[in-house]
């Protein structure tokens, strides 16, 4: 209780400090009756401001605009929708998508954390399982002025998701259903048995000389005509394991309405996404059909308790059920299918058992027999808030207190087993069945689970008042939250006091200052807190006399901001990693030593890297300048340009600390980066003749970063330095062709990894030492994260028909081809279509792939420009065509609106990978495209 009283006193104090700067007390408010979109309120940090008042860089998208793509993961829907946000796909497997989002690219490296802060209704939670039907809008806060109030959590950008709340009005019940069929968009291109055997023969001749072929002409004929399916099989594993299509569906029911006492928004939604695997659960009792299904529920209620006190209750949650046959995720199965040669073994043996060989087990057999892997995850987000209007103290003042509890729990329930399969061998007389594995029953394994919970308490003082020509808005807040993650981790805690004050004069000049005083548990006592101030200015030029009423320029605002934000996240697991509390000296148990004649072992205790008492968070000084305009009434333009300088990044001082210090180098705050870029968008919105509406919006954004200082060890050659290059710049060898003949090999620098032969990849000797080794690696290609993004949305409406198309494009990124469908015959694997372009003495002039070899080649498959590809792509993410039924038809059915539609998701993709890969994912669950039909009705 003492804490709360104390905190309340603090709040009053802060509020007073702001107020002391004002002399006048309020007059009547001047209502603005413009219908420009500039008066719409947009969510910003812990508040909402009309667009014209915002002097920081914020991108915003409405929840309704996110409904186009038919997927079960919320982050996927954000592709290309928010200028400044890059969405990177990890996988397309439902439930295991591993999406990552970046606001304005990345600006840290090494152990520095790159995660953005994502808040749902002001608190951290699991946003990936939200659905657009429950989201009101999503805002991306980009510059220092918008993110400063988040203190040391805001430097990577902040994403705010706001869920829908009720409005005064009659009860509205709406129901929507959507059902679609998905297909795999790209499957690895592997060769069939005949081609595999032909190329394998060629590879053997390359390795061991003429006459060393393994497959005879009879073998090749048998592969072609399929006359011996058991010993000359031709299996396309993807066809055996995957089915042609899988269904996906979504059913949604919402109730919303309100009166002067209560406003509510209630939602119930069920989604289901079946896997592209064949329904092995139907085929075998030991398997389960792959599927993902989720239920979302939400109940947001606002209650007016009395004239000045309102309560807001926000409860939302999900229950997810996932099932996978054979293994916990699909990656292992897809990896095996890209590895097994088409002629390795048939699917079934003559006696109907599953076939396999010494090295590989049968993928279909594994799916049908290795057991059932199911998991159940539940999320709960609950927030209760009270807002008291304090107009009786000062007009326009209100106070809010909020408490929130979010929880996520995932439990796995696996039933595993092994089974017997046979390798068949030919023998005179009968076949030999060579058994592998034993058949046992299903054994349960319920152990694994994962969870986190998050408790937050927030208190606000808000002041919003417009009087005469002055618009004043101020916010002061207190926030404390604890985030506990499962596993051997300490909870992450933050406390901050933040404030923001905005002042606008005559709707022409805007000034805003914001600040956070934030503390985090990671740092030494006395060094936990820091200040993060920011300021911004805006000038609404179109309200000046010289532009007022201008026909061409309806709205023009110029703004700029500058401030300091921080990032206190860094990796404490994985590689590289730092320790959780770096100001404390750690000692670890290490390998044992033995003493005595009886081999008794003794434990050892070893000092970790030296403690760094001054460890602190990364800081970023960021500057942003922007222009927003509406011209010719229908065209909205906005343009932002930014420059961010981050310093105090944690790095190890490799350049100066000698090894004879005798310890692992500690992480010190020495690193620096810089990032620059822009966002631009142009939108056209016009209603023609009241029958035809057209809306088109194009956004492009780009960011480029650079490592300014990273204390790297002194290198032998200038081109080896990472400083001055992009973060995560790949380094590799530069491939300059293939060796032509023995003379070419003798005349070229020696490549140290193997004794090269004609047809092997030739690399460039960067340093002129006549040797190709690790020192010849230079910066090649660019990063995996695209520097350039674009999104184009076109929607048109004519009478009762509507059409929407959305394209997304990225540029300036590099992907690397790899894996068994690319590297021919490596690691006893198979060969893909790309190997048809291989080097032979005949095709030497046009070959794009090295000579074939059956041995694991250490030279040709090294990371080099030969395997890099331009990863830019343009995808048509969704296209939807809908028809709104006429009122005359539906009013008999007690419906007030009804719309049917046809939707296509991910139907088109253009990239430079020649079909060998989808531009966004590697080996694993394939990219999917879907076509669906749907219905949305609202009841009277």
């Amino acid at each position: 209780m003492n804490v709360i009283t104390y905190i309340f006193k603090r709040k009053v104090l802060v509020m007073l400090a702001i107020l002391l700067s004002f002399n006048t007390i309020a007059d009547a408010q001047k209502l603005l009756t413009d219908t420009l979109k500039q008066n719409q309120k947009v969510e910003i940090g812990f508040g909402a401001q009309p667009l014209w008042l915002i002097s920081s860089a914020v991108s915003n998208v409405k929840g309704t605009e996110l409904q186009g793509q038919f997927t079960t993961n919320f982050t996927t829907r954000l592709h290309g929708k928010l200028a400044g946000l890059s969405v990177v796909t990890g996988s397309t497997e439902p439930g295991n998508e591993n999406m990552t989002i970046y606001g304005r690219g990345v600006n840290t490296f090494g152990v520095g954390g790159k995660q953005m802060l994502v808040l749902i209704d002001g608190v951290q939670g699991n946003y990936e399982d939200l659905i657009p039907e429950e989201v009101e809008s999503v805002s991306l806060l980009k510059d220092a002025s918008a993110t400063a109030i988040y203190g040391s959590r805001g430097a990577n950008g902040v994403l705010l998701v706001t869920t829908k709340r009720g409005e005064t009005g009659k009860l509205k019940v709406s129901f929507s259903a959507q059902y679609g069929i998905q297909q795999a968009a790209a499957i690895p291109k592997l060769l069939d048995s005949y081609n595999y055997a032909t190329l394998y023969n060629e590879a053997l001749v390359n390795d061991f000389g003429a006459g060393k072929e393994k497959y005879t002409a009879t073998d090749l004929t048998k592969y072609q005509d399929g006359s011996d399916p058991y010993f000359h099989p031709n299996v396309n594993w993807h066809n055996e394991v995957l089915r042609k299509s899988a269904p996906i569906s979504n059913y949604n029911l919402t109730f919303t309405g309100g009166n002067s006492t209560v406003k509510y928004f209630v939602l119930l939604n069920q989604q289901s996404n079946k896997s592209l695997y064949k329904n092995t659960g139907d085929m075998s009792e030991f398997s389960v059909n792959g599927s993902y299904s989720r239920i979302n529920f939400r109940s947001n209620v606002d209650i007016q308790l009395n004239k000045t006190l309102t309560a807001a209750v926000t409860i939302g949650g999900t229950v997810v059920d996932q099932a996978n046959p054979g293994a916990l995720s699909t990656y292992g199965t897809f990896n095996a299918m890209s590895k097994i040669a088409p002629n390795a073994f048939p699917v079934y043996n003559p006696n109907a058992s599953f076939s396999r060989n010494q090295l590989y087990s049968n993928p279909l057999g594994d799916l049908m027999n290795n057991g059932k892997f199911t998991s159940n995850g539940r999320t709960l987000q609950s927030t209760v808030g009270l807002t008291q209007e304090l107009d009786f103290i000062i007009k326009g003042l209100s106070a809010t207190a909020r408490a929130s509890f979010n929880s996520y729990f995932l439990s796995q329930s696996n039933l595993t087993r092994t089974y017997r399969s046979y390798e068949i061998k030919e023998a005179p007389g009968a076949l030999i069945y060579n058994p592998f594995g034993i058949s046992v029953g299903l054994s349960p394994n319920e152990g694994s689970s994962d969870q986190y919970r998050n408790t937050t308490f927030q208190g606000f003082l808000n002041y919003d008042r417009t009087f005469e020509k002055h618009t004043v808005s101020a916010m002061a807040m207190y926030n404390q939250d604890t985030y506990t993650i499962s596993g051997d981790n300490f909870p992450s805690t933050h406390i901050n006091v933040s404030g923001r004050a905005t002042y606008a004069y005559d709707q022409r000049y805007v000034a805003e200052v914001s600040m956070a005083y934030m503390g985090s548990e990671k740092y030494a006592p006395g060094k936990k807190f820091g200040y993060f101030p920011a300021a911004s200015l805006g000038w609404i030029v179109s309200n000046e006399d010289f532009l007022k009423g201008n026909d061409a320029i309806n709205y023009l605002k110029v703004r700029g901001s500058y401030g300091l934000v921080g990032n206190d996240q860094y990796a404490t697991s994985g590689t590289p990693r730092a320790t959780a509390f770096m100001y404390e000296q750690y000692y670890n148990n290490y390998s044992n030593y033995y003493f005595g004649t009886t081999q008794a072992s003794f434990t050892t205790l070893v000092q970790g890297s030296p403690a760094n008492n001054n460890v602190t968070w990364e800081k970023e000084k960021s500057m942003n300048i922007g222009i927003e305009a509406t011209i010719f009434k229908n065209i909205n333009i906005s343009f932002d340009v930014f420059n961010r300088n981050r310093y105090d990044i944690l790095i190890q001082p490799n350049s100066t600390t000698p090894d004879f210090m005798g310890f692992t180098k500690p992480y010190l705050n020495l690193g620096k980066t810089n990032s620059k870029g822009f966002e631009a968008s142009i939108a056209y919105d016009k209603t023609f003749n009241n029958d035809f509406k057209l809306n088109a919006e194009l956004s492009v954004w780009s960011s480029n970063n650079e490592i300014v200082y990273n204390a790297e060890a002194i290198k032998l050659y200038d081109y080896q330095y990472l400083t001055g290059k992009a973060i995560d710049q790949p380094y590799g060898l530069e491939a300059i062709g293939f060796f032509k003949d023995a003379a070419d090999i003798t005349a070229s620098p020696k490549q140290i990894w193997t004794n090269v032969k004609p047809g092997d990849v030739k690399y460039k000797d960067q340093n002129g030492d006549l040797k190709i080794d690790g020192n010849d690696q230079i910066a090649i290609g660019t990063t995996y994260l695209p520097d350039f993004n674009a999104g184009l949305n076109i929607s048109a409406q004519y009478k009762s028909f509507d059409l929407e198309v959305f394209f997304q494009a990225v540029g300036n990124r590099t992907v690397t081809l790899g894996g068994n469908d690319i590297y021919a015959f490596q690691n006893n694997g198979t060969v893909g279509e790309i190997a048809l372009n291989r080097w032979t003495p005949a095709t030497a002039a046009t070959a794009t792939y090295p000579r074939l070899t059956t041995l694991n080649d250490d030279n040709n498959y090294r990371y080099s420009t030969l395997w890099q590809r331009d990863g830019s792509f343009l995808k048509m993410r969704n296209v939807e065509f809908g028809y709104t039924l006429p009122k005359s038809v539906i009013s008999k059915l007690l419906l007030s609106t009804a719309r049917v539609f046809v939707n296509g998701t991910n139907l088109l993709a253009f990239d430079k990978l020649e079909g060998y890969r989808d531009a966004e994912i590697g080996i694993g669950y394939p990219a999917t495209k879907s076509v669906s039909v749907g219905l949305k009705v609202q009841f009277k």
């Binding site: 007073l16 004649t597 000092q607 060890a713």
Partner: protein, 596 residues
């Protein structure tokens, strides 16, 4: 109105000043939850904790002789260093010691080719320094224990300094625990200072260490270990590589020559070495350390290496528990392929160049003809240590390999060429250190044995003594003869003839040393400190082996032999000392050795 405002102002100022306590209030919320963290104070609070720190000192501070993976996972050493000198050739072409044979040693690859412990040594010395600084302040320890622990720390520190010295010459001496803020730019010390530092540490350790430990603590440093280290150090310092007026290769800046040689020849250095060796021999006599000679001349030598913790071992590295041949290092890398039914073993084969050092049983030199019809009697007539070192063709290795068939076509000759396995190049597979009792059968887990790498043993002291006495005097004296004859007697060889000149005695001592201390991580360094590595047949020139053929492959009675060359090796003069790691040199504190 104004009154209200004034009250507000006063109240706000009062509250403002209480801002400072904000952090204390809110700070508690952010405090790290109390845990069972260990700090340096915890470690130096009780004896059990101090023991963990001391154990860590041994774990980091003791180097390996047998091939295995070092602590910081810099990769496996698949072959012992013996494969990088004339003692043997590795069974496979790719283990790192092979790089010495082709002079492929650079400042970039030195820590992955030979000196994987480069950074580990500094960690070990730091641990020793921490123990030295803090152990006195621990209240509950007895004075004897404190002395012992300080002695052990000084020993570990001196041992690691010596390991640096023998590789690099002048080293960076770090005798205190460095903290962030200390001056790091410590340059290399001269040879003089390096040797003085090592000897000072050893001398102090000798006064502090106990003579013997209870059996449960066997493996810790005794007084004898420090004496043995001092003897080895002084012997190395007195040798021609360092004890010279000009270095083997000059530094760019002549002032730096003192980092790689003394700058003058002083015969007294040999006396100091001789005295140190004698002190060790005397100490051993009084403290239960003695040469193993009671198992008979055909088995005593082998007993020293196959039975752990025997009386001759002064200090052994006990970093590994019991392992079998199927597990990673060291047995797997010592046992040659073909001795185990799996094909992943590496093995080492003795070169003919080295075999020529083995005398006949009568003490005269063995001369090998280019071919011969029956080789087994010739081997039988060699110095008995040969049979206790090599799994020789036609002899019994153990119950599972009886006889060893390294003749053409035999199991121990080759496996699958297509898979890249060598054929046997010399026919003489080294089996020293591998316990004969280890089972090599496929399918079973193989009997396990605990490897104890012998770091110091008494036999070396006699050889040190003989060498040093001979170098100091103008001719070998009785003490020198006694010393070397003691070693020869244990092996069943007759005493050396009297009346040898200094040069002749020197050759006999060097020969004896090579044979006795074969494969024990000694010769690689001996050929450097004697500056004979460039001599033909030592590290340079043609290398030969045997090709054996059975008279009747299925029931052989005798094996013919033919001498064949298998390799030409090179040695560059710069390789007498290792280069310092390039990335360390680029930091600016260390002067690189010449030629790199």
């Amino acid at each position: 109105m104004y009154m209200k405002k004034i009250i507000y102002i006063i109240v706000s100022f009062v509250l403002l000043f209480s801002f400072a306590s904000c952090e204390q209030m809110m700070g508690d919320f952010l405090d790290k939850a109390p845990g069972v963290d260990v700090t340096e104070d915890t470690i130096f609070s009780t004896k059990t904790q101090v023991e963990t720190a001391v154990t860590a000192m041994y774990r980091y501070g003791m180097h390996s002789v047998l091939p295995r993976q070092e602590l910081n996972y810099t990769g496996f050493q698949y072959a012992p260093l013996a494969a990088g000198c004339d003692e043997c050739e590795s069974g496979k072409p790719w283990p790192d010691p092979q790089k010495w044979n082709v002079s492929d040693i650079t400042a970039e690859n030195i820590t992955s080719v030979e000196d994987r412990r480069f950074s580990l040594r500094f960690i070990a010395m730091r641990k020793a320094n921490i123990v030295l600084e803090r152990v006195d302040a621990v209240a509950e320890l007895s004075a004897d224990y404190k002395s012992q622990v300080k002695g052990e720390a000084l020993f570990i520190r001196a041992l690691n300094k010596f390991e640096m010295f023998k590789r690099y010459g002048g080293i960076v001496i770090v005798d205190k625990k460095l903290v962030v803020g200390d001056e790091f730019a410590i340059p290399r010390s001269s040879i003089q200072k390096t040797v003085e530092s090592i000897v000072a540490d050893c001398d102090l350790a000798i006064t502090l260490l106990p003579n013997v430990y209870p059996a449960t603590m066997r493996g810790r440093a005794t007084k004898g270990a420090a004496m043995a280290l001092k003897s080895r150090t002084l012997l190395t310092a007195a040798s021609p590589l360092f004890n010279a007026a000009t270095p083997y290769l000059p530094m760019e800046n002549a002032d730096n020559n003192k980092l790689i040689c003394y700058g003058d020849v002083d015969n007294n250095r040999w006396t100091a070495a001789a005295d140190a060796a004698k002190a060790l021999i005397d100490w051993a006599a009084e403290n239960g350390v003695k040469l193993i000679d009671d198992k008979g001349v055909d088995a005593s030598y082998r007993y020293v290496f196959e039975v752990n913790d025997n009386a001759e071992v002064i200090l052994a590295n006990k970093m590994q528990g019991a392992v079998g041949t199927y597990q990673v290092g060291p047995w797997r890398f010592l046992v040659p392929f073909g001795f185990d039914s799996r094909t992943w073993q590496v093995g080492n084969q003795m070169t003919l160049n080295f075999l020529k050092k083995y005398e006949k049983k009568d003490g005269t030199a063995m001369v090998w003809d280019n071919t011969g019809s029956s080789v087994m009697p010739l081997f039988d007539n060699l110095d008995r240590r040969y049979m206790q070192t090599v799994g020789s063709v036609g002899t019994k290795w153990n119950d599972q390999i009886n006889p060893v068939r390294s003749d053409v076509g035999g199991d121990q000759y080759w496996t699958d060429v297509a898979k890249g396995n060598n054929i046997s190049l010399t026919g003489m597979w080294v089996m020293k250190f591998v316990p004969q009792s280890m089972s090599l059968k496929d399918g079973t887990n193989g009997q396990q044995a605990m490897p104890n790498d012998i770091i110091f043993r008494l036999g070396e002291a006699y050889l040190n003594y003989a060498e040093a006495l001979n170098e100091f005097n103008s001719a070998p004296n009785a003490d020198a003869y006694n010393a070397i004859n003691t070693i020869r007697a244990r092996a069943g060889q007759p005493s050396l003839p009297n009346g040898l000149t200094k040069e002749q005695f020197r050759e006999r001592v060097r020969n004896e040393r090579a044979v006795e201390l074969y494969f024990e991580d000694i010769r690689f360094w001996d050929i450097r400190r004697w500056k004979i590595a460039e001599d033909d047949g030592v590290m340079k020139g043609d290398f030969y082996g045997f090709e054996f053929k059975a008279d009747n492959f299925d029931a052989p009675t005798k094996y013919s032999y033919e001498i064949k060359k298998f390799e030409t090796r090179t040695f560059l003069p710069k390789m007498y000392l290792h280069p310092y790691l390039r990335s360390e040199v680029l930091k600016g504190y260390i002067v690189q050795n010449p030629g790199y």
